[in-house]
Subunit: 300 residues, 2 copies
Amino acid sequence: MQQTIAIVGTGRMGANMARRLKDCGYRVTAVFDLRSEVAKSLADELGCQTCSTLAEVNSLANIVITVVTDNSAMDQIFAEHGDSLLQGAKGHTFINCATVTPAIHREIARRAGQRGANSLEACMASSITQARNGTLYLMIGGEFTVFESVQGLLASLSDGGKLLRYVGPTGTAAEVKALVNMVMNINTAGLAEGLGLGAALGLDLTMLREVFSQTGARSGVLQTDGEDMQNRAHDCYFSAAHAAKDSGIALELAHEAGLHLPLAEATRDQYLKMVKLGLGELDKSGIAELTFPGRFPVGH
Amino acid sequence: MQQTIAIVGTGRMGANMARRLKDCGYRVTAVFDLRSEVAKSLADELGCQTCSTLAEVNSLANIVITVVTDNSAMDQIFAEHGDSLLQGAKGHTFINCATVTPAIHREIARRAGQRGANSLEACMASSITQARNGTLYLMIGGEFTVFESVQGLLASLSDGGKLLRYVGPTGTAAEVKALVNMVMNINTAGLAEGLGLGAALGLDLTMLREVFSQTGARSGVLQTDGEDMQNRAHDCYFSAAHAAKDSGIALELAHEAGLHLPLAEATRDQYLKMVKLGLGELDKSGIAELTFPGRFPVGH
């Protein structure tokens, strides 16, 4: 059966995945977004259909990639009653890319299975540019045979498969993703403290970043966010609000496991503080606004 | 004038620096340690003198490398009254390698200057093995002309100078070092939380570390400490007690600057907890004992 692809959730990630798949010769037949004008604009660009219901999505594609914002949106597009991707789902494969809890991935897989459909989780540890270039780091959870059935498509999004990893049954990828983001957010918050204190001491921050990069303080976020923190360049690639959400998912898992994780908690609290201060849509590097002297005029 | 070198403080770092300098053809003429049997053993190995007073050290060497444990030890070996490295110090150069506060480096430089001696701070961002191999990452603070006068010697400790950086006036190197260790300790504590939660979720930690290394969670401490955390291999290279001290130095600077750094505080508290639990002499990777389920049987 020929693969026909729909995208549900046409924000920047979803739209760029659609563009990449079309570039690679895949048949992208339908798009859907609650903001219908956003979906319409992408449909016009790609020359495909925009849908007004989720049932219509299923009628136009047998592989549906979902890129929605949170647990509640996932629950809604896979609702057991009313308009839903579960309608006419038999034989379809859902590839769910939202960063949501492992529990919701397991629940959606259960619901899809009851309707004779397949469900995979595809957790992305990279961002908008990588989606457009097809160089996403993708971690896949679900049944291995289902993974194999869409491996070509997934490889076209992940540098020919070089960045594609099958990590285990449904839920595992979300767990790994939550841990990646939890540790990344901690490293980001810690870097903002180091550079902020360096600024307070009057140190040359370019020198300081170079020393960090050559010593035990080096990290991925030093490379991606260090200069942005120094220059207050907080255009959003991964928002502070998302960082707060993802650290929250990890802390929920920790709570269920009976673990106390003070660094993860302090980091989540910093990102929640940004949201409260109206800085939630800055990039995660914007956390430096809380730690550099004299930047954000709040009492801390 | 020929350079003659003494080492004050012959713990593992100081002893290995002495061995390296001798290997490189430098004249190591004297060693001193409060634990006289430790100094004696090293003196026998190197074929040099062991001293019973600090004044005697100055009589045998014109360059004195100090590698002591803390502010109080620095204050003591450079005491303004009684036996001290200030006696007979005229024309001598002190190279002070302890990780202590910027303020004490400035104070020692002041005292040395009053006696016609020179003082440099040499902060090391690496450990025992690197001291032996002459591959220390060395950050130097002090007067540039003094730095130049001992540059050859310092280069022989730092991979021919490739890892040698002059960072600014006295105090700057200690500030940079405090920031390096503060950020390194945060990353270490965060990694221990990520791997600990992964263990609680039953994930394959070797897979998890690989994913971390390929994503935004990657860091220097992931490379140096990740596997040790997984395997509970906490032989000491950089002790938890030292980590607590170094994070404390950075937090003192933050306090003086009026900055609140919640991640650095949470990290210092974790390392202080290790000390309180009798785990202070484990390597810093031993912080995983606090975050992995079922490892250290305390109520958290």
